[in-house]
Symmetry: C2
Subunit: 234 residues, 2 copies
């Protein structure tokens, strides 16, 4: 840390350097612990110096998201829409998994940065050139939601340490019979993988493929949203 601070005093501060340091710091100490003050310290700089390169903390977080989104592989040329989308989304997931804070930060943003917008544009483009109507593309993009960028929308964040999200077997066995049945079966299934709960990659692909298969079915049958609207009002 002392060495980094010293290097920081030599090399001039740039937006790029600020963002990369912020990403590394968040990787290290977690996003909640990341503060302007600590980031400045890490760069061997007075806190106010950061405000020359980012307007405020919100803009810092935007920039950090851009760094992570920049790590997503470019789209594979010449693939059919289904495997192209699949590949893109799974690559996004890999990028996000490398930065545990990224999914949460992306979701806390109130709007997309140009970099994120470009990513979305490319995914939309895959559907459109794959034969999807504008209408259907619109709805499938909503259906993908943040899964489009590799985010698993689980109900609870994966606990950082060893799994202990479900109450111990004896307690709650009567109150939550179905939860216990399910938890028991999962534990038995995966007892080769010590301490691990569910196979998150499998679950992610399961849901993704379910959606992609659904999209394919709708596209083939020429689905159009007007067919499904319930009355004039909408």
């Amino acid at each position: 840390m002392a060495r980094q601070a010293e290097a920081g005093r030599r090399t001039p501060l740039t937006r790029e350097r600020v963002l990369r340091a912020a990403v590394a710091l968040a990787d290290g100490i977690g996003i909640e612990a990341l503060s302007m003050r600590k980031l400045a310290q890490e760069l061997g700089v007075v806190p106010m110096a950061l405000y020359k390169h980012v307007a405020n903390k919100e803009q810092l977080l935007d920039g950090m998201v851009d760094v992570v989104v920049g790590e997503i592989d470019p789209p594979a040329p010449g693939a059919d829409w289904k495997s192209a989308v699949r590949q893109r989304v799974l690559s996004a997931r890999r990028a996000l998994l490398a930065h545990p804070w990224a999914a949460r930060v992306i979701q806390s943003r109130s709007g997309p940065t140009p970099v994120v917008l470009a990513y979305m544009d490319s995914v939309i483009g895959i559907f459109r050139t794959g034969g999807f109507s504008v209408d259907l593309t619109h709805h499938v993009m909503h259906a993908l939601g943040s899964r489009m960028i590799g985010i698993t929308q689980e109900l609870f964040d994966p606990p950082p340490g060893p799994r202990a999200q479900v109450p111990a077997p004896q307690e709650g066995a009567g109150e939550y019979p179905y939860v216990m049945e399910l938890a028991g079966a999962v534990a038995h299934d995966k007892d080769s993988v010590v301490g691990q709960g569910c196979d998150d990659q499998f679950e992610f692909e399961f849901a993704l493929d379910l959606l992609l298969d659904g999209f394919e079915r709708l596209q083939r049958q020429g689905w159009f949203s007007a067919d499904h609207m319930r009355d004039e009002g909408r």
Copy 2:
């Protein structure tokens, strides 16, 4: 506010009263602005008095989630699994929409409270009594993710004010051609609803039904996860 503070001094503080006040305050001023200090002030009480009823702010947020989840309608008896799940999830969505901060707070929790666990148990129960295997139930619960509790997994939070998430038509028209095409079509489609962007309810039900239809198909064909595992390792 002065009247509330006075009433607060009379009525003894209870966990219930603290939680209800916190929910009302978050509804009013937003979750970011909710602080232990402001909540205490609203109740006409010194900040430290709150710590008699909630251990810390995390536990306060847990309690607030429980209040919202308590507003979800009980399961409809005698319905088939598909409409029972559908009804439950849409009711959860109604409850969450009444408290704009709720979805974000639920997702920030690291584990389920007993109240949330009971909700999950009831949804799992619908699938199990509807003929789903433990295995398939496990995977469809993951596929539903937080949609199970009515959360729309959009990439960005719905902007509070009038929509302006996409850059103005002239700028970025060349850089994001597919985004612009889609945004243009949506704007044209819904120009009866002034200022509104997408029909969030329609999008939510579109994705939900896509998933439920997929679940039904898998259940009918006796899907089993082992068929789809790629190698021994998992």
